[in-house]
Amino acid sequence: MLSTSTVRVLAALAGAEFRRYATYRQATFAGAFTNTVFGFVRCYTLLSVAAVTGQMAGYDPAQLVTFVWVGQGLLAVVNYWGQQELPERVRTGQVVADLLRPVDLMATFVAADVGRAGHAMLTRFVVPVAVGLLAFDFYLPAHAWTYALFAVSVLLAVLVCTACRYLVALSAFWLLDVRGAQMVWLVASGAGSGLYFPITVLPDWLVLALWVGTPFPSLMQAPLDVLVERGGTGHGLLLVAGQVAWVLVLVALGRVVQARAVRRLVVQGG
């Protein structure tokens, strides 16, 4: 278990990252605006598909609206495409400053990312969801506990994404230039997570393979399915349990890779 003082250190790191993002006001506004514009594009596209049969891959139009707009809000919270600073710090040798602090590198990365996600939740999430609520008819959960389960699921989605991006970032210790690894991550995570469309439109065998074999659906499909109560509360709990499992697997993997990366470390630039 984490000691109180460790929790305090991690909270301070998360708070600093929150304040740091709070200084990028124009970027926050531009990001929220872009997410909102694409919300309209995606929403009308999916609704036009659903208009033919009255549903799409098991989602009724109201569920699709919620799926799209809350997804647009979560995009920056989960942060698939966020700036990767760690690979750049490895490439330039700046990572040495991180390693000289009495805090674990992975814990620092995760704490900072939670701080960033907190800021995104209050800004980048709120704007598109509010606009979507004003412009369309949302599916609102039938049960109050769904909101609590959704909040837990979002936190787990952030942790899964952070752990995945940490692994991509650690590849810099071997590759130095992580653009290739990052491209693979962006394509796979986007298509396999429900970011572009609900993954249930894919063949059943592929959906099963994605849920069981990859962490991608845990990033977006899981929290959104929890929110639109697809399959009921039992199904929602199963999705959250799956997310917990992926967090555990990815954190363990991150620890192993980090230990190897630090062991083989060559600090660039003298």
Binding site: R19, T23, Q94, L265
Partner: protein, 317 residues
């Protein structure tokens, strides 16, 4: 001894192209058997030409790089496996890197470091007050680090490295790129830190004025090996550095004139430069005044740069 290394090595594998598809691998020893002992409170100058292995040694001492061989102990800890414990007891300033948060005001970086190093608020406030007065931090404490000048940032880096009261302070080229005033401020501050005697300082630099002003002991490294370990005076004695007398005359230098105990190095118009060879400056000046009419005269101490340049050159031969 607060720092102890024995036959410390770091090898790197370098791949070279040897054909269209072939690569050859060679092993390069960046640090090649360095044995060092540094006592508590000592201020050590660690110098060497580019690529000599200074920064690599520092990175092994701080636990960032894993040694390829030998043993190392800092503050009684083995740096790599005990890196996190060691980090609490050491402070590090890399002149070309930053430990501050780029987008946050300096004061916030300091607060964050207080949490990270788990420093009691009173100790933190006391040390920050000390650094603020000595390094004149107040005018830019609320400025984001990205907007600071290099001199201001370096003053911030020094403060950041000292706020947790480290037992050992490692400084890797802390004056690189600084203007004269900032260099003076940094040196003055480090002099103060050294005078307290409770912090051991290891200083790596290319600016030998830093060493002259701050360090009694000097370790010179080249090609990963220690080529000198001793005081500055011992360095001068070993390499027989010589003092010079530069004299402006009221007449031309008489052709063929020799002075016992000195060698004529150069004659330019009515200015003559003599190198002392076994005689004192007083003796040579007296003989010079008898031989030619003098207008002005100065005695120049040997330049550490010259000695070190000769030392680097010898080590490469």
């Amino acid at each position: 001894m607060i720092i102890q290394t024995s036959l410390l090595r770091k090898d790197f594998t370098v791949r070279k192209k040897a054909g269209r598809f072939r690569r050859t691998r060679t092993t390069v020893s960046a640090v090649d058997g360095v044995t060092l002992s540094v006592a508590e409170g000592e201020m050590l100058g660690y110098i060497g030409p580019n690529g000599a292995g200074k920064s690599t040694t520092l990175k092994m001492l701080t636990g960032v790089l894993t040694p390829s061989g030998g043993t190392v102990s800092v503050c009684g800890l083995t740096p790599v496996p005990q890196r996190i414990q060691l980090a609490r007891r050491i402070g590090v300033v890399f002149g070309q890197r930053s430990q501050l948060w780029w987008d946050l005001p300096l004061a916030e970086s300091f607060t964050l470091l207080r949490h990270i190093y788990r420093v009691p608020a009173a100790d933190h406030a006391m040390r920050l007050k000390y650094c603020r007065s000595l390094l004149d931090l107040d005018e830019f404490l609320d400025t984001p680090v990205r907007q600071l000048s290099l001199g201001q940032r370096m003053r911030g880096e020094l403060t950041a490295a000292l706020l947790h009261g480290p037992k050992v302070l490692f400084l890797d080229e802390p004056t690189i790129g600084l203007d004269v005033l900032s260099k003076q401020a940094v040196r003055g501050f480090l002099g103060e830190v050294a005078a307290h005697g409770d912090t051991t300082v290891v200083l790596t630099t290319h600016d030998l004025a830093d060493i002259e002003k701050l360090c009694r002991r000097l370790v010179v490294i080249d090609h990963g090996r220690v080529v000198h370990d001793g005081t500055l005076e011992e360095l001068h004695a070993t390499y027989r550095s010589k003092r010079r007398i530069v004299a402006d005359l009221d007449a031309s230098w008489p052709e063929g004139l020799t002075l016992p105990g000195a060698v004529v190095e150069s004659v330019e118009g009515q200015r003559v430069t003599l190198t002392l060879e076994g005689a004192t400056a007083g003796e040579v000046v007296a003989r010079l005044a008898q031989a030619v009419p003098l207008r002005d005269l100065s005695v120049q101490e040997p330049e550490i740069e010259d000695v070190v340049a000769r030392l680097y050159g010898q080590a490469r031969e």
